[in-house]
């Protein structure tokens, strides 16, 4: 059974049904919601099936599907997952139904909203499953389109500006990446990622040019300093669901790309540019954390914290140590859970008051105790407290970084302090203190609790028993490092 194809394209099938919905507007909206929820839930179940079908100890690419498309040109429809991509498949499949559940505040064009999220899901899953350069490129760039529309249509007041900024930034990188892919494909005569990872050996100078071309795209997606400024704007203007997917999955595409292409295919160039990446990561961590401190908009603060956390990812990845790379992957998954949860947390109060300003809240614990507990868990995860998922990734990265340079490790660890400063002060200002003058807000309802529970569970599970994920990624990371000659 072509499990991966089923996972990738099931949401598109759902889209077909959504298009066929007819009737009064309200009924269509309600049916669209349930349709999308069911389709994405089944996709989640299928992705879990893939998780269990994958033999973690063996590692390597499994569940591979291969159909040659244009054999003369080496292009084909190739899907497959390894221990690095599979966690992201599950993450994407998990976040989509949660986002759909959280879409209660969407009142206009509900069906279109659902359609776009299902299309988005197909593209996200496709990106992580694709094992062909062309296919990857199509999915990778395809993600842009639904997200662009989601921000542009359901966003806040400055949505057009933000949507275009987002588009411009990412498009710039994509063009260079396409050129890079074309070069690799013509040089190797195949677009098969599995073959390329093992067999592509280019001379160092070419590698460097190609590396820069790919890096331009991945760095924007990441986003790394200094090409990060699209992110706060996009987050602030996007509807809650958009922010969740943006932070939870889209930011991982860059890191995934680096792991899938730059490191194995261009190893010499990766080593050559590692110091550059370290400097950018160190700057990103301290700079973004400091900027997060002075924000008065909750979403912007979480957005800047994402930039800082992604700095951990790049720093860990380019240490080329087992702990560093595994920590980077872990950090990406953990951040996918935590940042998604934090944007949902912000969404809960935004739905009630339509304000994102920290100063318009205070003393929420009085009337929203459940909310306070959930927020606390995610806040602590983001701060990287041992026992939460945030800690494992950060700590592994510090271990890896220390082997490369004490100074780098220091800057990475500095993020731990600054992260505590801005997250705790956010929590303090919103949850504790004396309530503001407005009407008291109602606590999380059952639907919101259902959304948060899996995320809270994952935060703690990955913190206490990270083996669930590390056992999956370990062999694949080892394989990657051995390809690099490490």
């Amino acid at each position: 059974m072509p499990l991966l194809s089923l996972i990738v394209f099931l949401p598109l099938v759902g889209v077909l049904f959504l298009l066929l919905l007819r009737g009064p507007e309200e009924a269509v909206a309600r049916n669209a919601f349930w349709m999308a929820l069911w389709v994405s839930s089944v996709t989640l179940l299928l992705s879990l099936a893939a998780w269990f079908a994958y033999d973690g100890e063996r590692g390597g690419f499994q569940l591979v599907e291969e159909n040659l498309w244009i054999p003369q040109l080496g292009l084909g429809y190739r899907l497959g997952v390894d221990g690095i991509s599979l966690p992201f498949v599950v993450l994407s499949a998990l976040l989509t139904p949660l986002v759909i559940l959280a879409s209660r505040s969407i009142r206009t064009r509900v069906r279109d909203y659902m359609i776009l999220f299902l299309v988005l899901e197909t593209f996200m899953l496709g990106t992580f499953c694709a094992l062909d350069l062309l296919l990857f490129y199509v999915f990778f760039e395809g993600v842009l389109i639904p997200m662009f529309i989601i921000i542009g249509v359901w966003g806040g007041p400055r949505r057009i500006y933000s949507a275009f900024k987002f588009f411009l930034y990412t498009l710039l990188g994509s063009i260079l990446m396409l050129l890079g892919f074309l070069y690799i494909w013509s040089a190797a005569g195949t677009a098969n990622i599995m073959e390329l990872a093992e067999g592509l050996s280019l001379d160092p100078v070419t590698q460097r040019w190609l590396w820069l071309a790919l890096f331009a795209s991945f760095a924007v997606k990441m986003p790394m300093w200094p090409v990060h400024t699209w992110l706060p704007d996009a987050h602030v203007e996007a509807p809650t669901g958009g922010s969740v997917i943006l932070a939870g999955v889209l930011l991982k595409l860059g890191g995934y790309g680096l792991l899938r292409f730059s490191l194995p295919m261009l190893p010499e160039a990766s080593e050559f540019f590692a110091p550059l990446v370290f400097v950018l990561s160190a700057v990103a961590i301290s700079y973004a954390s400091l900027v997060a401190l002075v924000q008065d908009d909750m979403k912007k603060m979480v957005a800047y914290s994402s930039v800082a956390h992604m700095g951990f990812v790049t720093a860990g990845m380019f240490t080329f140590t087992r702990q560093g790379v595994e920590g980077a992957v872990f950090q990406m998954v953990s951040h996918g859970v935590l940042s998604a949860a934090l944007f949902l947390v912000v969404g809960v109060v935004y739905d009630r008051t339509h304000s994102r300003l920290i100063s318009s809240y205070g003393g929420l614990v009085r009337t929203m105790p459940r909310y306070a507990v959930l927020f606390m868990i995610f806040m602590l995860g983001s701060v990287g407290l041992p026992g939460t998922s945030g800690f494992v990734g950060e700590f592994l990265v510090i271990l890896g970084a220390f082997r490369v340079s004490g100074v780098l490790a220091f800057f990475v660890a500095l993020g731990m302090v600054l992260g505590a400063v801005y997250m705790l002060s956010l929590y303090r200002r919103v949850i504790f203190g004396v309530p503001g003058s407005g009407a008291p807000l109602s606590d999380t309802d059952w639907r919101e609790v259902v959304i948060f529970l899996p995320l809270a569970f994952l935060t703690l599970l990955l913190g206490v028993w990270p083996g669930v994920l590390l056992d999956m990624t370990g062999p694949s990371v080892d394989g990657l490092l051995s390809l690099m000659g490490r």
Binding site: V294, R366, P369, V417, D471
Partner: protein, 693 residues
Amino acid sequence: MLASLIVLLPLVGSLLAGILATRGGIRAFTSAEHDTHNPRDTRAFRGRDIFAAAVTTVPMILSALLSCFLYLTLGDAVIHETLFTWIRSGALEVSWAVYVDRLTAVMFCVVTLVSAAVHVYSLGYMRGDRSLPRFMCYLSLFTFFMLSLVSADNFLQMFFGWEGVGLCSYLLIGYWHERGAANAAAVKAFVVNRVGDVGFALGIAGVFALFGTIEFRAVLGEAGEHTAATWNLLGFDVPALTAICLLLFVGAMGKSAQLGLHTWLPDAMEGPTPVSALIHAATMVTAGVFMVCRLSPMFELSAFALGVVAITGALTAIFAGTVALVQNDIKRIIAYSTCSQLGYMFFAAGVSAYGAAIFHLTTHAFFKALLFLGAGAVITALHHRQDIRAMGGLAHALPLSCAALWLGSLALMGVGIPGLTLGLAGFFSKDAILEAGWAAGGFTGWLVYVLGLAAAVLTAFYSLRLLFVVFHLPQDAAAAASARAEEEAAHADTDTHEHDAHDEHDDIREPSRWMLYPLGFLSIGAIFAGAYLHHDFVGEHAAEFWHGALSYAHDPLAAAHGHIPFWVKLSPVAMGVVGAIAAVLLYFVMPARRAALTTKFARAHRFLMHKWYFDEIYNLVFVRNTWRAGGLFFRGGDKGTIDRFGPDGASLAASQWGKCLRILQSGYLYHYALAMLAGLVLLMGWMLIQARF
């Protein structure tokens, strides 16, 4: 199995109380339904509270009993139970484990006994609090983290406990979350501790880089083979072991509030008093001392790191002692005293007298918890007034509390008779530490010995000052009025009116039984712990007692045993007497001189009142600049530079170019015709020129 049970029982209690706290309308997790601003009305227990109290306190007492049993039966054995693997990544393998040797067994007893006492005490102190289950949940959770810290078999589990106790400390300091000051103190405590934890985390990374493992036994066993290893840091070659020890010690400084990273501890007194007793006096703040002792075989290999430990400790002892002389908040005085005593422990560790450090840790846990809980009794009786200037002459109204505070203070001052081995708990342990300092000799040894003696004078003075002002001297009306005004100003932001109705001393009562039993229990510890333990901990056969849990390679006490002159044994007590005489003179014999001295040395007094200006300087240097940098990066960096020249610049340029080009596209035929003509002319002209040459 037994050892795991000791660790897990508090966790079970905590989870049960936590579930209880979140259920039952969930109101418990907050003070949601309570309408007044007084979180501590004296209503009776409700059913849920009783249940929460039972599910936390009973396991805690059980755990304490098991700990004592374990301590008495352990002998020279080592229990090592591995529960399951936590993190495995390549060469890194970290387990959840319970590792019990003598050192852990001692810590188990200290932690569980004090914790059990505090659990019981809290039932009285927090009586009627709206969210008692939440409070008990945090207390038990704290105990669990603390126990997993001391029973770790590897650095990372220790770090887990380390940050976990920090979390509970944060939650408990900010327990009364409607008070701005409490919230600020909670965040400050977490962040300052995080600064130290960065050192700890980097130290662990260093250990892994050097040893390839982070298991204690492997690391401590192999440490001797790596003495020659160096790392290149910014061009300097630093000895790796020293670097690791110093990084780890930064972590210890943060947790144990040593000079430089101590600023959070006095502020932490915003939390409920039982919390101050358990976390900020007896257990959590001693984690740093425990860490240095646990890693003693490694610290032994770096003389430089040990010197830093010793001198930091001695300076902290002096610094905190001087600040305690002039403070007016009863809890802050005791907090600075804690800080100072922790300094003693570090300086003992720094001169390789680890047994003495743990000995002082143990006795200090009892008498300092006693002091705090006694202070809590006074505070409750006075309806949560903490300024000692507003107290006075309470000895008659509160005889039992007075006795508890006197006993705690005398134990702290180290009262005893040298030569007869007769004395209170602090007598034995302080004596051992100062003797160790003397016996260690050398520059460091003498320096810390002298500083330690000076700190002993200060200890006696500030302890007696506290007792005199609170219990025996009549209230100074003018001072009391200014104290009240200050307090009201401080609490203005939270509009707490709880004091207003209770300004007179007429309804001052001794605390309830729940609070008295723990005081009695801790008194026993404060009296006898020293006499009972000193043979084992620092006696002639201490090395055999610790059985490898502590390094005895260079223990000064063992080396100098029997050769310590009598004047050295006498000196701590003599110094205490000096301090005591000074206090009696200034407060009873000639109180007028006190005011004269204060005005004469106004500058020094202000310096001490402002706690050496640490907070002010940190605010100026770190806090303000951090925020300023954030603002600068945001406005100048993101908006001013990256956006301006990046996407916004590009789109602006594009639209302006577009405007320019638009002029060309006028739509008039004759414009286009002219342009075509011009083009034709140019083209033909160029071709002609080409043909010519």
